[in-house]
Symmetry: C2
Subunit: 365 residues, 2 copies
């Protein structure tokens, strides 16, 4: 952030004051830096570029690889994330725009999309340049001022310096919990997360031909993580890992506080822009068909930003709601990162931001 | 069954009268025929042979293959299950003892271990020879007089002509439900069954690299199937299929009627001979390690007849008990079939039969 100040003296970050009036005055473009250009970072960069009110100030990477080459091919200014390895880019024939410190100084907001734990190491960098930063769900909640889900607690991020966009699974659970909690009240959520072993390109990961309770102790971290968004929610989660790479699949039980029918719940969920209630007529049986469907629809990289809920699985037995949903671990947090950029800069309220993001990404099928 | 009669006139099968006195008088060997010598049939035949009060009258198969060759090598009299294909055995150099009708006539009890739906076609064969028959869980409950689980409803099979040993998953759920229901009472069971796509030798089955809600509608058949054993139990089940072949894995929630602690539940389950509470110190993370453990222990075919419950997963949150258990689809029904043989012939009560079976198989680790 170029025009810093003393945030302590002012009580909140000066950028919030400067950006809001300018945004109201006309089309100001938020300059967004992306640190870490892997699975999440490259998707966030594309999504940011698609927004009418944002531009990509640059992306930072630790080492040259095919993704670095593609970043340059897309005209994203590429910065080296580690001084000692910067020479490797030149040796690989890749031109750098500079070091990541320059990007952080230039950007209005940094999106840290580095691997789990590296975001924490980068925090001081963002603080030195007084640039607000978004971190991903792999970081600890104690690192940040607030955890974030656009549907559930957008306003909590206003003026925050450090915000954690919760993980793919927590995002998927939060999007589902929010409307159910508002409409029916929730007595308890019990969720079994059947998780993919690794992403498609993570060929070194497992399991092979096994079903692993993971962790073997309960609860999995997902339940407590959802509570960073819904502090008062009763939720127990169990996790497993299986030999699949495409998406996670959740087996969900929600004991509701008031009467519901499957049809009413289906209608409620259909009204949410980031919940895709898969119509039974499509005969989509799993993540493979979902990805194929997304690719046929022209989605970049076949991404499924929405929770994918099987419509015919939505069932109510007494007070218990059940359903299956698939969560695309590589992309469902992407629109949330975009919204978090607006939330921390105060450039839009939740409804405006979500509508803008969804419109720019052409959300929905 | 050689010495038949008119079961209608007598009100129940004469064999029950003849076998019980003989069993009390001295060591009578129950002659057991096995129709279908595949995954389940070959295991049941071995388990029957291991019993002190049973002998294998013969096994029947539709066609020659490696399992037929092994049956002969083990000195099991081999019968042809289909007249039209009987010649194939001779052409393959395999000697037949006769046709399946002869086996049914000779046997005191038939265990039908044919593929789902074939058991129903075989029912008239068993009726013609007045030989009581056990069927596997793939058959419809309407086919039989009673469904069977040794721990839960052994006595219901006394004198029955047609008994269905419930499926591997239903057996696994029933064994767990029985002690919990007795000790605490059960308000509701909610179970997510993460199922293997096929057995190790079923190389034509899937899924590959996917997680399939299966069925996509709720409940899966498992919940209603458990109710054939526990008619009054409230149970909701959800099923998925994943790319694994070794075992099923259940993510279990049981809302209990009375207070429990994890330690007390762990102790309760440890006392059950067919529940193997995996000690945390073994560091067994999944089905691969479980099978390796069973093979190291000298288990035939690496079979795990017991539910394999991760000790450290047993957790109580308020009224909710949670745990993970792995179910070996190829073998957990084997001791149940052995017990069902004694149950229908009235040759032992539940406690005697289970103790005899477990001792003969060297159950437990």
């Amino acid at each position: 952030m170029p025009d810093g100040g003393d945030p302590t003296a002012l009580g909140f970050r000066p950028a919030l004051e400067t950006v809001i009036p300018l945004a109201r005055a006309g089309p100001i473009m938020l300059r967004v830096g992306v640190n870490g250009y892997g699975t999440i970072g490259k998707r966030v960069a594309d999504a940011v570029r698609a927004q009418p009110d944002m531009e990509v100030a640059g992306v930072a990477k630790t080492r040259p690889n095919f993704e670095a080459e593609r970043a340059v091919a897309k005209d994203f200014p590429l910065y080296a994330a580690v001084e000692e390895r910067a020479d490797q880019f030149g040796e690989a024939g890749i031109d750098l725009a500079g070091m990541v410190e320059e990007l952080v100084e230039t950007a209005d907001v940094m999106v840290d999309a580095t691997p789990s734990g590296i975001g924490a190491e980068n925090k001081s960098l963002y603080e030195e340049h007084d640039t607000p930063a978004l971190y991903q769900g792999g970081e600890d909640e104690d690192l940040v001022d607030t955890s974030f889900n656009a549907r559930a607690n957008y306003a909590d991020a206003a003026g925050a310096d450090h915000v954690r966009v919760v993980s793919c699974n927590t995002t998927g659970l939060s999007r589902l919990v929010a409307p159910l909690e508002e409409e029916y009240g929730i007595e308890k959520v019990r969720a079994t997360l059947v998780r993919r072993g690794g992403d498609p390109a993570q060929s070194g990961r497992g399991p092979i031909n096994d079903i692993l309770p993971n962790p073997r102790t309960l609860p999995s971290h997902h339940g407590p993580d959802v509570k960073t968004i819904f502090p008062d929610l009763a939720i127990d989660t169990l996790g497993l890992k299986v030999p699949a790479t495409l998406m996670h699949t959740h087996s969900i039980n929600v004991t509701l506080d008031s009467d519901a029918t499957a049809d009413a719940v289906r209608d409620l969920l259909r009204d949410e822009s980031r919940l895709f209630v898969i119509p039974e007529r499509l005969d989509i049986d799993g993540a493979g068909a979902l990805k194929e469907f997304a690719l046929d629809a022209g989605r970049p990289r076949g991404d499924l930003w929405e929770n994918c809920i099987w419509g015919e699985s939505i069932t109510v037995e007494d007070d218990d709601l059940y359903l299956f949903q698939a969560i695309h671990q590589e992309s469902d947090v992407v629109p949330e990162n975009v919204d978090a950029i607006r939330a921390v800069t105060g450039s839009a309220d939740a409804a405006e931001s979500v509508a803008t993001t969804d419109d720019a990404l052409d959300m929905g099928f």
